[in-house]
């Protein structure tokens, strides 16, 4: 990334009277300025948004139902069937766009659940310290070493996941440990700053200090954590669906690959069946990761140098 100097006008020469609102707005403009000039952010976000639009609009562009049979069998992509058909006579395009939808829903939901748990544990443990920190740290470490997928496989097999929400909850409650650790470390360093001590001196309670003083000061960091959890959630869901443990009544990209492998699409050379779903997942998650790097550079001036 080439070094970009902010335009001098935006940093100086503002009237003093507008001091109360101007710094905040100026800060926002500056962020936007760097955001639009960060190639990684623009590329990553465009990919993710394009797929999001496809996930929302795509199903309206076809009459086909992802589970409906009766189309020609094993057709390669053509004008009538944009992504071809499966060996059972289903429309791959319909499956793909509905699957994209599921990926976004599960990713967002599981990331939201995981962030909530990670923030609760990270804030409390980083701010309170002492014995609470020890206990929560132990809990985090235990969940951290437990191989997530093994736990999920056993849970999902027994509970037979029936809906996207149930799948997202299952994934969300196993995804949080690394995020909780990271948030705890950040909270720990913020908790010893002057403005936090000042708030404590003025008689504010722990919850108030965490919500009003600490969380806003690491909001950009929390946002980055959410993005990474989103990507992790999409990948985990794909793996579960690929093992046939996701909701069977909802089309997902992982389920497409499961069916493709199960129906020997590989041995039949039906690339149009298994390439799109994985490409979709890679594009969503890769786009999110690159967005994350770009955003990190925008938020953190030290990283802009490179």
């Amino acid at each position: 990334m080439a070094t970009v100097e902010p335009p001098v006008e935006s940093l100086a020469g503002e009237p003093v009277a507008a001091e109360a609102t101007a710094p905040r707005r100026r800060f926002g403009y500056e962020l936007l300025y760097f955001a639009l000039r960060n190639r990684k952010l623009v590329v990553g976000l465009s990919v993710v948004l394009a797929l999001l639009v496809l996930a929302i609009v795509g199903p309206w562009l076809t009459d086909a139902d992802p589970f409906e049979f009766g189309y020609p069998i094993g057709e390669p992509p053509s004008r009538d069937y944009w992504l071809g058909t499966t060996s059972a006579g289903q429309d791959v395009y319909a499956q793909f766009v509905y699957g994209l939808r599921s990926s976004f829903i599960v990713g967002a939901l599981s990331a939201a659940i995981a962030s909530l748990i990670a923030m609760t544990i990270g804030f409390v443990s980083g701010y309170r310290g002492g014995i609470i920190d020890e206990i929560l740290g132990m809990l985090t470490n235990v969940v951290l070493v437990l191989p997530t997928l093994a736990v999920l496989i056993v849970f999902a097999a027994y509970l037979s996941v029936g809906s996207l929400v149930a799948e997202a909850v299952l994934i969300g409650v196993t995804l949080w440990p690394w995020a909780a650790r990271a948030i705890r470390a950040q909270t720990f360093s913020l908790a010893s700053r002057e403005f936090v001590s000042l708030a404590r001196l003025s008689g504010a309670g722990s919850t108030r200090i965490i919500v009003r003083e600490i969380a806003p000061n690491m909001s950009s960091y929390l946002f980055l954590v959410f993005i990474l959890l989103f990507g992790g959630g999409v990948l985990t869901a794909a793996t579960l669906d690929f093992l046939g443990l996701g909701p069977a009544q909802v089309m997902s990209l992982g389920q497409m690959m499961y069916t493709a492998v199960y129906s020997s699409a590989l041995q039949l050379g039906m690339w149009w069946w298994f390439i799109p779903p994985g490409l979709g997942i890679t594009a969503i998650v890769g786009g999110l990761y690159i967005t994350n790097v770009g955003l990190d550079e925008v938020f953190n001036p030290r990283l802009r140098e490179r």
Binding site: P147, G244, L266
Partner: protein, 328 residues
């Protein structure tokens, strides 16, 4: 050092305890009568289901108080009794696992070790060469975002189906029997390469990114600037930076194990490789819960042991853990 190990071992024991408890609790948390629920899902013939009903009643011991059931569960577990398999009638779960385990380890161990070494090297190089940074880094991000099973499918389609360089599935040629002959080893290796490559590539991406970021951070640290201002050669500074960056990477290795194991499971399924992953799929499709629970415990124990090995390596690499200071 003993304090460091005491903490780690406490966490491992606790984790194992939690895992076994989960394993114990899940079937009992199911709504309805667990035995009827289980039997109803088996697609076994009536004589087998009769036998199973007896086994379940005995193994669950549902007439006994819960704490006694729990103790019985532990006792069976510690004696290595994981129950009979339902998908493969006549085999015990432990037998099936021991037969599949070597294949999974043959994929996992080389993939983890080699991707770690190569990823660290390439990441460190990328941190100081701009041209490399601009090519390797995006590739690494895309690789680490790739679902294992999809990369497996793509590699199998291009290198095996289209070009015919490698066989598409299995662990060795069907006409051969496992033996230490040159022919078998060659067949084994040609079947082994693609699943290995899949695991290697995805894991490699993660290591390269991590190392690159850590090296950049270390090269900006005070000690690096100080060394440079003293006129130390760049090689020396980079060596110190690498040494410091390896520590968090090793912690990362412990954390990434679970994900690589998961990757190995789905990769095996794509290639029809007869390891633990294929066993899991059979267990899921046949609702073979004993098999599933046995594999679950195996994976947990395996990951814990691997974590412990990383911890020991950490003590060797990081002197702070030895002198009683807290390592990161």
């Amino acid at each position: 050092m003993s304090r460091y190990f005491a903490r780690k071992i406490a966490i491992y024991l606790l984790t194992f305890f939690v895992a076994v408890t989960i394993d114990f609790a899940i079937p009992r948390l199911m709504p309805g009568d667990p035995i009827d629920g289980l039997i109803a899902r088996f697609q076994a013939d009536p004589t087998a289901s009769e036998e199973l009903h007896g086994y379940f009643t005995e193994s669950f011991g549902l007439d006994q108080p819960l704490w006694e059931q729990y103790l019985t569960f532990w006792r069976g577990l510690l004696q290595g009794d994981l129950g009979p398999s339902i998908a493969y009638i006549g085999s015990s779960v432990s037998e099936l696992i021991w037969a599949a385990l070597p294949y999974t380890l043959a994929l996992l161990v080389p993939a983890i070790v080699l991707s770690y070494i190569a990823g660290n090297r390439v990441g460190a190089l990328a941190a100081r060469r701009k041209s490399l940074d601009n090519t390797v880094l995006p590739a690494a991000y895309i690789l680490s975002a790739t679902p294992y099973m999809w990369l497996a499918l793509v590699l199998a389609y291009v290198l095996a189906f289209k070009l015919g360089w490698f066989p598409v599935s299995g662990a060795y040629d069907f006409s051969l029997q496992p033996a230490w002959t040159w022919e078998f080893v060659r067949s084994f290796l040609s079947h082994w390469f693609l699943p290995f490559l899949t695991l290697f590539l995805v894991a490699f991406g993660g290591w390269a990114i991590g190392m690159r970021n850590l090296i950049i951070y270390e090269l900006e640290a005070d000690y690096a600037n100080y060394l440079r201002s003293l006129g130390a050669p760049g090689r020396l500074v980079r060596r110190y930076a690498y040494g410091n960056a390896v520590l968090p990477q090793m912690t990362g290795l412990a954390l990434a194990l679970g994900a690589v194991v998961a990757g190995a499971l789905v990769t095996e399924i794509v290639f029809g490789y007869p390891g633990i992953g294929s066993l899991i799929l059979t267990a899921i499709q046949n609702r073979d819960y004993f098999l599933l629970q046995g594999i679950f415990l195996l994976i947990i124990v395996g990951v814990l042991i691997a974590n412990f090995i990383v911890d020991i390596a950490y003590v060797i690499v990081d002197p702070r853990t030895r002198t009683g200071l807290q390592g990161s």
